[in-house]
């Protein structure tokens, strides 16, 4: 405390009516916060509670200075403060209350005392712990060494990122993902250069790795394929302890021991790699650091649709989790072990037990979250038709309002309206053309969502057309060509607006779908159709111009259509929805970016084209 050190015995009897005076430098000494107590004194009176009395003059003034030389500046004083008086032996302080022993005095060791346990072993040092250790006089502390994890990518077909890709090359990215996980867990990743499918080279790399690392990861080569050498090599160099586990994805995991070092054969598919690495490597790396491996945060949710699962395998189902009104909905995403984006887009995992054949729709399940609960709460769930402008919108929402995210699932326009009906989405993109009236979306909303108050916002008008390879090598001019013997078509899934558009045109031309090769093969997005055309799986498919432009395809225009966002009124007023609408309506950069994709008319962007609450 800033104030005066006194002997409490000297202050007895001081009161309002009979103040007591103490001679400065004899009976009292000025002290500031942090000063040690002067020898012989045993209490401090706060500066606010004393007045200075000059014994000669009898003038009382405020105290504004200390007993130590300080640099003074006019700026340091309020202009109207009285003159600064440096206490001297000629002066006295006057008090009107007695002090209690050791008042306002901090005792040595009030905070930390010698021999006291500041932190136990196996404690992860936090910023306040650094403070406490330094305050306790410790400038050195023994910490555990970061566990070293060698990661050996294998495979003759894999190439380093940034290489010129030849057909059949696969970019090596797993090792970077695994390195990131090691860093996150407090370890030190040591990434090896890719090793070709060659027993000798693999042996050499593994032997080198067990020298430098505490844990060795071989990725991949542990499954039962022709070029999967890992089990044999581990067996030859040491001991295979475990090969194959009943989880999906992740079955081919291998665990072994070479020269006392644990070696994990992690599967090659990225999702399998992620899941098995987390299951098997994370506890090891944490334990070596003396850190208790924390369980993921969990949330209870209702499963949006039925999921069948293989008996005998525990499945790690990736799900997106949406907070829709008062419901929490978990929607399964792609289950392919090779689909890394399914992991990027997932919010968490649902574990389907090995002895279960699946989970019914609507079942309450537990989701292990890989995102923070707040992120899930602040995510707009969009289910419905796909449009590339939605990706742009998702980016702008996060760019302008970091708090909010837009998550889109592409199930077609019909699927989107069904999701709204089942209260599984906040918004749905839709471009459903009513054959009878020629009107977009409204007739379907009225029919499918009667009673619901839907507000329909136009996002874009866009051009649909047949996508073909650059130069149109097969000379396709329109839907009429689809029946040609040499043409393979790629379709969109039933319930999508684009499928409806296809069927409308075929009907008008009296073409029987049976006569179209590939009519039964369905893709779920415009980009999926464009990819199928680009890779030669099909010769043509219907999609938006922006998708064709994105992959450098030629485009035969078929129709201009209206693409709207359907929003139930009760979600319309949410802050996150209003942020989204603000971007759609007012963000010039967003609008320009959409236009730059090609084929978009944004003249009605953001306009309410239908308001169900007024209808």
């Amino acid at each position: 405390m800033d104030g005066y050190a006194v002997k409490f015995e000297d202050t007895f009897g001081a009161s309002d009516r009979s103040p007591k005076q103490l001679k400065v430098l004899e009976q009292t000494r000025p002290v500031n916060t942090g000063d040690p107590m002067p020898e012989g004194f045993n209490a401090v009176i706060m500066i606010e509670d004393v007045s200075i009395v000059s014994n000669e003059s009898g003038v009382t003034s405020n105290i504004e200075d200390s007993n130590k030389p300080i640099v003074t500046s006019d700026k340091l004083k309020d202009k109207d403060s009285s003159l600064v008086t440096r206490p001297s032996s000629q002066e006295y302080i006057e008090i009107i209350e007695p002090a209690t022993p050791w008042q306002h005095v901090r005792i040595i060791g009030e905070d930390i005392v010698a021999t006291e346990l500041i932190l136990p072993e196996n404690h992860k040092i936090r910023p306040m712990d650094i403070g406490a250790m330094l305050a306790g006089g410790l400038t050195d502390v023994k910490v555990r060494r970061k566990p070293r994890v060698a990661i050996i990518p294998t495979g003759s077909e894999i190439v380093e990122p940034g290489s010129d890709l030849k057909k059949g090359d696969i970019i090596e990215y797993n090792s970077r993902m695994l390195s990131g996980l090691v860093l996150e867990w407090g370890g030190e990743p040591i990434r090896f250069s890719p090793v070709a499918d060659d027993t000798k080279q693999l042996k050499k790399a593994i032997l080198e790795a067990v020298q430098v690392a505490d844990l060795v990861i071989v990725n991949a080569g542990s499954s039962a394929g022709m070029r999967d050498f890992t089990p044999h090599v581990v067996k030859e160099l040491g001991e295979v302890m475990l090969h194959g586990i009943n989880i999906k994805p992740g079955k081919p995991l291998l665990a072994g021991l070479i020269k006392g070092k644990p070696v994990l054969g992690i599967p090659g598919y990225p999702v399998s790699a992620y899941i098995t690495f987390e299951l098997f490597a994370s506890p090891i790396i944490h334990t070596w650091q003396g850190i208790e491996h924390k369980e993921k945060e969990k949330i209870r949710a209702s499963l949006s649709r039925q999921v069948a699962s293989s008996l005998g395998m525990e499945e790690f189902l990736r799900v997106k989790v949406g907070s829709i009104g008062d419901k929490t909905i978990a929607s399964p995403v792609s289950r392919g072990a090779g689909i890394l984006m399914s992991l990027v887009r997932a919010d968490g995992f649902v574990r389907i037990p090995a002895m279960s054949e699946g989970i019914g729709a609507g079942t309450e399940i537990e989701v292990e979250l890989i995102k923070h609960k707040d992120e899930i709460k602040n995510t707009i769930i969009s289910i419905g038709s796909h449009d590339n402008a939605l990706d742009i919108l998702a980016n702008f929402l996060k760019k302008r309002f970091a708090k909010y995210s837009l998550s889109s699932a592409h199930v077609g326009s019909m699927g989107g309206l069904i999701a709204l009906k089942r209260k599984e989405a906040h918004i749905a993109g839709t471009h459903l053309l009513d054959e009878k009236t020629g009107e977009y979306n409204v007739p379907f909303i009225r029919q499918m969502l009667s009673g619901d108050e839907i507000i329909l916002i136009n996002l874009v008008y866009r051009e649909q057309g047949l996508m073909v390879l650059k130069g149109n090598p097969k000379g396709i001019n329109g839907f009429g060509d689809l029946v040609r013997e040499d043409i393979i078509f790629i379709n969109r899934q039933g319930g999508s607006g684009t499928r409806l558009l296809t069927d409308k045109h075929l009907k008008e031309l009296h073409i029987d779908p049976k006569n179209i090769k590939g009519y039964d093969r369905e893709e779920y997005t415009h980009m999926g159709v464009a990819s199928a055309v680009l890779s030669g799986i099909a010769d043509t498919g219907l999609g938006v111009l922006s998708a064709a432009m994105a992959l450098g395809l030629d485009f035969i225009p078929v129709a201009k259509e209206r693409y709207d966002l359907a929003i139930p009124k009760r979600f319309y007023s949410l802050e996150m929805t209003q942020c989204l609408l603000a971007i759609i309506r007012e963000d010039k950069e967003f609008r320009d970016t959409v236009i730059s994709l090609g084929g978009y008319d944004v003249s009605d962007m953001g306009r309410i084209v239908y308001d169900g609450s007024k209808a």
Copy 2:
């Protein structure tokens, strides 16, 4: 898939009864997982589903090799496998099922398609995101620069850690704590050397800081003391936007702007510094990174005792949180802004609103956690008498079982038994001597906890005595000296076993406590008493030998006493309790460490001295 590429048209009609043969290298080509599809083929049949037929010999063999040259090794084959047959143009594969178009073929872009949004802006890159970006062909990504935060420690009395300390020196540790927080939040701390209480030097440092950093922290000098220059200097160099906030601790916070850079004057007391830095700097540093500032995890708990709070100030009350049976209890820890250990030991904060005068005992309150929920669940709450061996025990529990922690609050033996009664603790350390029977603890447990099934475990026997300065300068020989005019005593709090021991001895000697100076001043721990003696606040006090030894004090033995742990039966069988008991009973290193503290008899360590369930 490892298998054979085929044209699906060629497979029509294959069945069990009429297998179809396809000529290798003409009608079919062997492929491995990851291979590109050979030109002209459009489906893959899995290796498991084909047999090789040598047309000349008619012999069918298993497939074990691929079309590519590979290094073979005997180790790679099962010993009993048939001879390896390399498919050649003389050979055929036989299939018994037709293939569907594009079966087992992954389409380009199944995972990521050009122009697809992999990650939005303002997204914090996770390990799987690195994988997805590389898989998408991106080797460069623009990221936000880490915000630079200059931290300027000020004060003429502060010295760098590791310096030789002179009286009045204060070790500078706040800046290291704040630097740790900046790192945790993703920023880059720039720590300045301490600046003396000198306007010119402070100005110079701040001007330098606004050049190199995005945010400038001045610690401290923002309160109203005589040497608190920060407000004046900020005002002179720029603009003071805010000075003083109604939170406790943390009132003197200052926020200003100098040359367009935000400047925060953070209070000097470490707890105030931590709280205000987190409240004011964290949102800025997160926002600059495009990261939504996450709220702390919260837990509902019952407040263990009444807490009064100043009206008009929002108080950040530090609490320990215990999970006791099915109750969650929050117990306030020291409220001093200077007590950094209170922050180290705290599990979270309770915010007492400015308009509240306090919170009643038993009120359900919300705790903002600074530890993980799991850590709280896995912590043994010990409330009761203090003994240095408990610190050793806490360290060994964490050392041997990283999952578990022991948290001790020191309220004296009586307080411990009351805590057990109120179900606020798992265990209680106690050394209560019954004057009548001369028995330790059991009579008190029977009286206070009737009906509760308590198991009493001996931890140690220990020596209590009067602690005096080295050399015993005042020649104290026993309790009889406490009435001397020149002796100041320091007492332990009522309800502590040591206080009971004191009072028993005074009674035996017919000494009236009124005649003992300092009898009314109470400390809560043995180390607190030892510190008071060491710092000259008192001449002597009663405590255990280990405390005297820790601070180099002399010791006049008074009694040997039994120190037990009382454990309710329902907590006795908990895994964490069993781990604790395993250390007490079986851990030689623990036992030796306790012995090395001095004054301990461990001959009964871990023995059940009373079992209430059998009594």
